[in-house]
């Protein structure tokens, strides 16, 4: 009887161990949701296939989502407890979900991971994906940079230096005065990022900060607590307003649509926009020499001290993920090496992870856009960055204030100092009421 019992125990143990071994070998499934279109998703799938080949214990399943209504879809999934393990997120979305305690805090795993250095990200990127409690609730993936697309032939013909990293605001304003032909209805600059209500004042603040302003317009990129108007900001906005009023720079509210096409047609010398226009220009192949320069600095500012704008998107994970280690591996990949292949087909934006950005720069250079590659790298690595817009729960109310005032300041209906002070007073009031 004892022998039979022993055999039975051995058989049962073997069976149980077998089940455990099979279970241990079962791959872990990690779900990922993006807001990308079909082409980009195909490139992401190809990158994830290489990841799965290198990590056979992890299966990555990509969930599709249209871009339109992405926020609503995410909210519905959160209510249903069906958030994917990794999802594309805006900086503001990440903070909104982190505030609700809905996101996984990667701090511990990221700190313990010797294979992944958070210091490899562009200056400001990780800091702005870190919540007020010090928790790392997501990782930045791509960053936008804001600068000036220029028609080099028009600059050369006018005897002006072609813009390049380190060029000055004086040079920008002089070029605007020189290249404009208001009589012929030609603006020197389509100043979208300078004149649109939500972002213009922040772009103008780059001018003020590089000129040695004592305080930034908004004291923090995420959830700013104070709005300050300095004499340098007043001076920069005054020069901008004068050029808008003289017809050298497009007025506030001037439609951004179609300006890309006008630039391609050689009818706009300068386009103050983001680096994401590069693929459109590469496709269109304008019949003139063109390039992309960073936002200017003040005279005497060394490149290493240049102040530029910050704008990033990234990824986050829900607080209740079942396999944090596996999810971290996928998140790490999607925040770094994945972009080395994804961006080759559409070099739209640089990865925030600097070591993964080289193929992006190489692609731009190979297409003859060496100036864009150099400028984007310069802006990406700028040590100090300013917000491009309000990122806070009260942002829409503050944007209403900007919308009501910015255009009037630029077109001269309101005095510059008076208008800027009115903005500061009203937005500070909104911040105070939101925090009380």
């Amino acid at each position: 009887v004892n022998r039979k019992l022993a055999i039975l125990v051995v058989v049962l143990l073997t069976f149980a161990l077998g089940i455990q071994m099979v279970t241990a070998q079962d791959p872990v499934t990690v779900t990922v949701m993006t807001w990308e279109g079909a082409d980009t998703n195909a490139a992401i799938d190809a990158a994830l296939a290489t990841f799965m080949e290198a990590n056979p214990s992890i299966v990555v399943e990509r969930l599709p989502s249209p871009n339109s209504g992405y926020g609503e879809r995410l909210s519905a999934m959160q209510l249903a407890g069906e958030l994917p393990d990794v999802f594309w997120s805006g900086n503001d979305q990440m903070f909104q979900y982190a505030d609700q305690g809905a996101l996984y805090n990667w701090t511990e795993i990221a700190t313990a991971d010797d294979t992944f250095d958070l210091g490899d990200f562009a200056p400001g990127a990780i800091a702005n994906w870190t919540a007020g409690d010090g928790g790392l609730y997501g990782l930045p993936t791509l960053m936008n940079t804001y600068g000036v697309w220029y028609n080099a032939d028009l600059f050369t013909a006018a005897g002006l230096d072609v813009p390049a990293p380190g060029w000055t605001w004086d040079a920008f304003f002089t070029a605007a005065e020189t290249l404009a032909d208001p009589a012929a209805g030609m603006f020197a600059a389509q100043g979208y990022e300078l004149v649109n209500p939500n972002e213009g004042i922040f772009t103008a603040d780059v001018c003020a900060q590089n000129a040695g302003s004592a305080a930034p317009f908004a004291d923090r990129i995420i959830n700013p607590t104070t709005i300050t108007v300095t004499p340098e900001l007043v001076s920069c906005v005054s020069r901008l307003a004068a050029l808008v009023q003289s017809g050298a720079i497009t007025p506030s509210g001037y439609p951004g649509d179609g300006q890309t096409e006008l630039f391609i047609a050689g009818q706009i010398p300068m386009l103050v926009f983001g680096q994401w226009l590069a693929p459109s220009f590469m496709n269109a192949a304008p019949a003139f020499t063109y390039g992309f320069a960073p936002l200017p600095v003040a005279d005497g500012v060394e490149p290493a001290d240049a102040i530029q704008l910050y704008d990033a998107v990234g990824i986050a994970s829900p607080a209740d993920i079942e396999n944090p280690e596996a999810v971290w591996e996928v998140a790490k990949f999607l925040a770094s090496a994945a972009w080395e292949s994804i961006l080759l087909s559409a070099p739209v934006a640089p990865p925030a992870h600097i070591p993964s950005a080289q193929p992006y720069f190489d692609t731009l250079s190979a297409a003859g856009l060496e100036s864009a590659a150099a400028s984007i790298q310069y802006m990406l690595e700028a040590p100090t960055k300013l917000p491009i817009r309000f990122t806070a729960p009260w942002a829409s109310r503050a944007n209403d204030v900007l919308g009501a005032n910015w255009g009037n300041i630029l077109n001269g209906t309101t005095g510059v100092e008076e208008g800027l002070n009115a903005i500061a007073e009203q937005v500070n009031g909104i911040i105070t009421s939101a925090s009380s």
Partner: protein, 269 residues
């Protein structure tokens, strides 16, 4: 003048067709060209393949067909009851239906989402179909007004012949009100076919998606910046808009009659 206006109205459609046949470089050409330099018919095949058009088409057809029939039939039934059956509080019910039309749909979105979630209907087609069985306030209003313009002596004659409300509704009223319910069906089909928000929030798996979600997936946001494959989008959009167009053209005679008859004043019984 009529011909010029017609051409003006049809221009967006022609432009859509032109974009559907263009290569990527042609779309952004300055100045814009109406005719493609090279006809790229492959956009149709590529667009269909990119979003898995036919399975989404089947899903959308099933959802739209069921919800159209359910919404029209239930609204007609309620409209008949409100106009033909005397019961206490029928005016209050009618005003409640009318009042609910004034409430923005988004107000009820979160509570109804919670209800369907608790019923276990998240990621199923039920939230897209089920509400249709409870009528539509606007359709109920139309039905009630239309029924009130039908003389009561028709009902009375039928009742003398022994007909009950069901027989009167199905054998007399439905044939008499054909322009009305065909008009409702066209509107309901189009609304269900083009519904974007409900499939977006309720359908998690792609195999359950509708065409509106599939069409939207042509547009992405790379680094937060919109990016759309316009030629494939326009090519597929031509197919996407065909079913509502076919439904409209097949039933347009009744649709016109339905719209016209809605202008007649209803009598209060």
């Amino acid at each position: 003048l009529a011909a010029a206006l017609s051409i003006l109205m049809l221009l967006p459609l022609f432009w859509m067709l032109s974009t559907a046949l263009k290569a990527n470089n042609d779309i952004y050409r300055i100045p814009p060209q109406f005719f493609p330099t090279e006809f790229q018919f492959s956009n149709f095949a590529a667009g269909i393949e990119t979003i898995g058009f036919w399975s989404l088409f089947a899903n959308t057809t099933i959802i739209a067909a069921i919800s159209t029939v359910a919404k029209v039939f239930s609204s007609m039934l309620v409209g008949y009851g409100l106009s033909r059956i005397r019961f206490p509080g029928r005016r209050i019910w009618f005003y409640l239906f009318i009042g609910s039309m004034m409430m923005p749909g988004v107000v009820g979105m979160i509570p109804t989402f919670q209800v369907y979630l608790r019923l276990g209907w998240y990621n199923t087609w039920w939230p897209l179909i089920f509400p249709a069985f409870f009528g539509d306030p606007f359709f109920i209003f139309l039905a009630r007004q239309y029924f009130m313009s039908v003389p009561l002596n028709i009902d009375e004659a039928a009742k003398i012949d022994g007909a009950g409300h069901w027989a009167i509704f199905t054998q007399l009223m439905l044939p008499l009100t054909r322009p009305l319910w065909i008009t409702m069906a066209i509107i309901a089909f189009q609304a269900s076919w083009n519904d974007y928000l409900n499939p977006l929030i309720y359908l998690y798996s792609q195999d359950k998606w509708t065409l509106s979600l599939g069409m939207a997936s042509f547009s992405g946001a790379f680094a937060g910046v919109a990016a759309t494959q316009w030629n494939q989008f326009m090519a597929t959009n031509l197919l996407y808009m065909l079913p509502p167009l076919i439904v409209f053209f097949v039933a347009q005679r009744h649709f016109m009659a339905g719209l016209g008859s809605l202008g007649s004043t209803a009598r209060e019984h």
